[in-house]
Symmetry: C2
Subunit: 321 residues, 2 copies
Amino acid sequence: MPLGEFELIQRYFAQVSEASSDASVALGVGDDCALLNLPEGQQLAVSIDTLVEGTHFLPDIQPEQLADRLMGSTVSDLAAMGARPAWLTLALTLPQTDADWLKRFSSQLGIRCQEYSIALIGGDTTRGPLALSAQVHGFVPQGKGLCRHGAKPGDIICVSGNLGDSRGGLEGLLNGFANETHAEYLLKRFYSPVPRIGLGQSLVGSASSCVDISDGLLSDLAHILKASGNLGARLQIEALPISSQLVDTYGEQQAQQWALTGGEDFELCFTLPPEHLALIPSLPTSVAVIGKVTEESELSLFLRGEACEIAGSGYDHFHQS
Amino acid sequence: MPLGEFELIQRYFAQVSEASSDASVALGVGDDCALLNLPEGQQLAVSIDTLVEGTHFLPDIQPEQLADRLMGSTVSDLAAMGARPAWLTLALTLPQTDADWLKRFSSQLGIRCQEYSIALIGGDTTRGPLALSAQVHGFVPQGKGLCRHGAKPGDIICVSGNLGDSRGGLEGLLNGFANETHAEYLLKRFYSPVPRIGLGQSLVGSASSCVDISDGLLSDLAHILKASGNLGARLQIEALPISSQLVDTYGEQQAQQWALTGGEDFELCFTLPPEHLALIPSLPTSVAVIGKVTEESELSLFLRGEACEIAGSGYDHFHQS
């Protein structure tokens, strides 16, 4: 006999909600609204994202992988604003009630809520094609959020971690890995993106702009440049941080291409006024300096000092067929 | 040529966002997060809801009707907490980019945002089967939110407006109206629920509990009774507020049945300590007294003094086949 909607929510998400709740949550899951307290001196940062089966993930994804992907990608938006994660709401649309699936999904969701210190405070469960909308809420000191619009000519362009790995993992999923040696690493980078929460908060007060790389470096950097008054940039391709695993699996040129245009790495791309360059070694995540913001509104690529063509831009859902 | 995702969001929702924005919105649509200010002394009330084609609405729904239904049903959760609407986020999943549909939907969304004084502050647009997740955010004076758990034995049970109309409209849509005289009225009650925002705020400090009627009166009142410590209630069926249009179209007995169990009227059901009864005539919406909270945990129905059977409870998505 199928579980009722209320029992279902109760059974699988109440535990996650209770375990993740803190003093900012005056009333959590189970009423018409959650009631929440914003600490004094803080602004609220919010972002909502949807993952749809067939568009954002393949039908054979495991529930744990889906929870990881959802949490990594949504919390990443908070990281990109320099916000401290606080609250999560989840609207879950399921084709049927599958107790095993729900148990595994909610259990992994709970693990990530703990890890990112974010409380599940509300949600909705409906019947329909598998899709998830999650809204994340975070705290950022009043007026200190890392926006896209603050870059200035002369600022240094930085990125965290390695780029292109997620695209390499997806390639293996879609077309198989030619070389299986690093398949596990690349799949993990695709399924379990790590939101750069600590890094984002460390940049508050120093970075002049910040974005997380969801659509691809070129595409997301272009958002910063446009929002900052149609500025341009010069990027050094050989300075892009690329994992040896990606190069070993697909070769250097392909790896560089994906580092520029592959989406969903969820690393941070940010600009630093030159006087803050000394901050880099003390940041909690490895950061590479990859170029400079320029006055003229053009994004130019250089490989060992030679100008090169931009081969493609990021991923845009509605341009896909 | 299809529009890109960013241009699409930009074109149709930027105007709604700008027109609806106010001083509490430090940064609106267009960055990784919106940045928001919560007025001093207020708690934040939040609720997320999803509407899925085929589950919550029929494929031939007009975009204006969908916008009305979404806004009415989601803002109703704020009304039920006594909250003042503040911010809206919208995750929109569309099978394709349809400029006419988007123009009509966003235009009607903008009209409702203005009417309910709620600012569109963020969203996500993805490709997939038609579905909408909306999160509403409102302000409620610290500690004064109208929760489900405050009812006490002896409290008076009240409901706003008329009950059952929405179910009557749905019946006409599904099986045709036997009598077309009031079809327009009933369809409007189904498609354009009116969130009782003013009423909810007027009840802050007086009502001991409150819920909006989304699943049906019996089902939603049961949430109050359970949350308040497994209390019971005695309801007078002849006291249920029912429109003459519903009775004229479907007869008195069917109308009463739907007033008890029909979902999605989005009227408020609340409990008032007897000493606050005098408040009723001054409330901004008509309110009917329909019964009383009791100590023993049973929900009993009376028709002209005679006890009667409960014929069914509310709507529960996962019990449907």
